[in-house]
């Protein structure tokens, strides 16, 4: 049970250990590795959004001097179904078809062949030599059109899951529903009913580092893969399964990573590089261009949401009903379930229903993006709440407080909440100086709540005590948001040593135990739990060694401030033994001192947030100006507060970008027209104010230090906060994102 205690290391803000390497360029990312005799792989991608592949001829490419291998879908084993593991939506069979098309291409940019050649230029020339004959088919791009009975089918073998007697193929891959109470009764009790349709566009995770890897496979089919990934163990497993190989034959090494946000939890290039390397006998490097990242890697779902909300004049929510269609891309697996379970999570609502649809369209297969599914569904409901607050002439924070969930509230998805910090977030928002000050002239102030469940899953950690008593932490969670520093802080706190005596390293798949992906806000919680337990293992061993040295029983030794000390009543005339002392005498007491732990961490604590923002709108141009943005979040105990604030700021900025400008723009043929950062406009520094943060720390009772997890929740609330601010600024409800200048102008003119 976590308690409010004065930690010595936890809660401090040491300089990030990877910072200097990253700003000096020394850090090695996915594309930085160069091996002797390495060749370069490239992917041929479909020019059609939907077409049958009638013929592929690789031979013209293979006849070119310097081209050492070429592959297409025919080279891959057939895989149907199978679990992706970790966080990937859909099946492994779909992932296999997504990374290399078989008989059909289902989105523009879908991979149809790959080559390896002695130079990137030659590889590009080889792609042009490959002959592919297509039978173009009409694409279906709109999620509502795709749900029509007579819609063009993305997959003729897709039958809807979650409905009885689905005897006809459909683009609806799955239906889900969550309900409680009596909707009719709830709406009958309402004094005010709000009913709206909201749209959120498909958006990309926008990580700065494109996908990249190097595979080096020997003549026995064994070898290594270096890649930028959020989970090298799952990349190894999925690559092996897709290629019908033994996972023991592949070693995966995670490079430094330039952002992932969920988009690097699934394989794209790695199985191709392994197959090409195995065919040609050379190491193969593959890197995506930015255009390829946009066209062929997982964005998150665009959605259409219909919400009906009933409230009493005193602000009590009496009923809520939602219908949300998610774009899955061309393969099933949109984040419908978490979106469904999150939509009403901050509130105690007696009568509700939410129905969700996983819908195939001829666009890239979606992948996880921070709190997958929650930003879209909660945008709709939080906008409806704001409209209700305006109609009731009620402060939007007060409306939320009246209905706020707390410990013991039955969550919409079932269980009663353990201790949570939503009300604390609302109280902090109400008292925040950014909220108590007047709304600037010409601006609107938007409020929204956010939520994410957080998860645990499997992690391993080993602790090695060096000969001088310094500490080496080895774990298998790729460091995306500063986890090495957090692991060092928890290890230092547990062992009772200073932070600068501890180092952390992310081990490869052969040098540390299994870890699930870094994602779902699980790493500081779950891998941190493994590190803490591994440190406890070290302490137990140290007490044993000290007892041996002093000639007393182990239970007569205690651990205080990084040293073994004799317990009360022990008459031994001994001095405390520090980690350095114990390591120095380790050769005589049993050899090197190590600790290890493996966990399947349960009991992740949910994280709630409240965001508010002041946004001014130029009524002549539609341009918005974000004057201030305040993010408040219950993070549980903040191990490294600067990293927590960084996660909150990063999520806020991504949410601002999604709300204000980011969208996939397609032409009628299903070709994305803005596949680059010039036209797909993520926020830059000059677009933004300082993102103000306030961390609320309600400890998670299921973690020894009270960790909840941070990284998912921050992207949830900004979408509705922005919508609500802009709507209040212009005095008109704007329901569809992004609120880009042309869209705002069009809405004002409507």
């Amino acid at each position: 049970m976590a308690e409010a205690v004065d930690y010595k290391q936890i809660g401090t803000r040491p300089v990030r250990p990877d910072g200097v390497d990253k700003v000096t360029g020394r850090a090695r990312f996915g594309a930085d590795l160069i091996l002797p005799n390495m060749v370069h792989g490239r992917v041929l991608r479909s020019p059609h959004a939907h077409a049958r592949i009638k013929r592929i001829d690789l031979s013209p490419a293979l006849e070119m001097e310097g081209v050492v291998a070429a592959i297409s879908g025919a080279d891959f084993p057939d895989i149907e179904g199978g679990e992706v593991g970790g966080e990937g939506g859909g099946t492994l069979g779909d992932v296999a078809k997504n990374i290399m098309a078989r008989d059909k291409v289902v989105y523009h940019g879908h991979a149809v062949a790959a080559v390896a050649a002695t130079s990137p230029a030659l590889a590009n020339a080889a792609l042009e030599a490959i002959e592919v004959e297509y039978e173009p088919l009409p694409p279906v791009l709109d999620v509502l059109a795709a749900m029509e009975d007579d819609a063009v089918l993305v997959n003729e073998n897709n039958f809807t899951q979650g409905v009885e007697n689905a005897d006809k193929p459909s683009n609806v891959a799955a239906v889900g529903k969550l309900a409680r109470g009596d909707l009719d009764e709830g709406f009958a009790a309402a004094d005010l009913v709000i009913e709206r349709e909201y749209q959120v566009p498909m958006a990309h995770q926008g990580y700065i580092e494109p996908h990249a890897c190097v595979a080096s496979i020997d003549e026995t089919g064994r070898g290594s893969v270096w890649c930028c990934t959020q989970g090298h163990f799952e990349f190894r497993a999925n690559t092996a399964k897709i290629l019908n190989k033994d996972i023991a034959d592949l070693k995966f090494i995670a490079s430094e990573i330039g952002g992932g946000f969920g988009g690097k939890t699934v394989v794209y290039l790695e199985p191709l590089a392994v197959m090409l390397s195995e065919k040609c006998g050379h190491p193969v490097k593959m890197t995506m261009t930015r255009e390829e990242v946009f066209r062929a890697t997982g964005p998150t779902s665009g959605t259409v949401a219909r919400v009906k909300l009933g409230v009493k004049n005193d602000g009590t929510i009496t009923a809520a009903d939602a219908w949300v269609a998610f774009e899955a891309g061309a393969f099933a697996g949109a984040p419908t379930m978490p979106g469904m379970m999150a939509i009403y999570a901050p509130y105690d609502i007696e009568n509700f229903s939410v129905e969700v649809f996983d819908v195939l369209v001829n666009k890239p297969k979606v992948a996880a993006y921070r709190a997958p599914g929650a930003p879209q569904t909660m945008h709709a409901f939080e906008c409806a709440l704001d409209e209700a607050a305006i109609a009731l002439d009620m402060d939007p924070l007060d409306l939320r407080m009246i209905n706020a969930a707390e410990e013991g509230t039955q969550a919409p998805y079932g269980p009663k909440f353990p201790p949570i910090g939503f009300k604390a977030c609302l109280e902090a928002a109400k008292a925040h100086p950014n909220y108590t000050k007047p709304v600037p002239e010409g601006a609107g102030r938007g409020v929204s709540a956010g939520f994410w469940f957080n998860i645990g899953m499997q992690s391993s950690a080993e602790i090695n005590i060096n000969e001088n008593g310094t500490v080496m932490v080895i774990e298998g969670s790729p460091d995306i948001g500063g986890s090495r520093a957090s692991m060092c802080l928890m290890a230092a706190e547990t062992l009772g040593v200073e932070y600068d005596k501890v180092r952390a390293q992310v081990g490869d798949t052969e040098s540390t135990g299994f870890c699930n992906v870094t994602g779902g806000s699980r790493t500081t919680f779950a891998t941190g739990l493994a590190v803490t337990q591994a440190c406890e293992d070290v302490i137990a061993e140290c007490k044993k060694r000290a007892a041996m040295s002093w000639g007393v029983d182990e239970d007569q030794v205690e651990w205080q401030d990084g040293s073994a000390v004799p317990g009360p009543g022990v008459n031994a005339d001994v001095n405390p033994m520090s980690l350095a002392d114990l390591a120095g005498s380790a050769a005589k007491t049993g050899g090197p001192i190590q600790g290890r732990a493996s966990v399947n961490a349960q009991g992740a604590g949910a994280s709630f947030s409240v965001n508010f923002t002041d946004i001014a709108v130029d009524h002549d141009t539609g341009k918005t100006d974000v004057l201030s943005f305040t993010a408040i979040q219950d993070a549980g105990t903040a191990i490294h507060p600067a990293y927590v604030e960084g996660q909150m700021q990063g999520g806020a900025v991504q949410g601002l970008g999604w709300a204000l400008n980011e969208e996939y723009v397609y032409d009628d043929n299903g070709v994305m027209e803005n596949a680059g950062f010039l036209d797909y406009r993520i926020p830059v520094a000059s677009d933004l104010p300082m993102i103000d943060t306030e961390i609320i720390e309600v400890p998670n009772p299921s973690h020894p230090y009270g960790v909840r997890g941070v990284g998912e929740t921050p992207i949830v609330a900004p979408l509705a906060a922005v919508s609500n601010a802009v709507s209040r600024a212009v005095g008109k409800r704007l329901c569809d994102l992004p609120l880009s200048p042309p869209n705002v102008l069009a809405a004002l003119d409507d």
Partner: protein, 80 residues
């Protein structure tokens, strides 16, 4: 007896039964009971999360179920 609640996605396999009581003392025993009573539930149970007395478990096994426990099945959570 502990109470067990199923989500909508279970109902087609339980003949519409949403709630029932159990004397199972741990999650493993509850699973055994459920799979025996509704064999069609096996696949969906193996890829579901469960909340016991408010605590969510992605992969429960020997977690205790008390006589007055509340057990809710739910979809597994993912994340980015």
């Amino acid at each position: 007896m502990a109470s067990v609640v199923f989500p909508d996605s279970f109902l087609e396999h339980t003949g519409g039964t949403r709630e029932f009581d159990t004397a199972a003392a741990c999650y493993r025993d509850l699973l055994t009971e459920l799979k025996a009573r509704w064999p069609d539930l096996t696949e969906i149970l193996d890829r579901s999360a469960v909340a016991i007395d408010g605590q969510i478990y992605q992969d429960a096994f020997l977690e205790e179920i008390q006589p007055h426990s509340e057990v809710f099945f739910m979809a597994r959570i993912e994340g980015g």
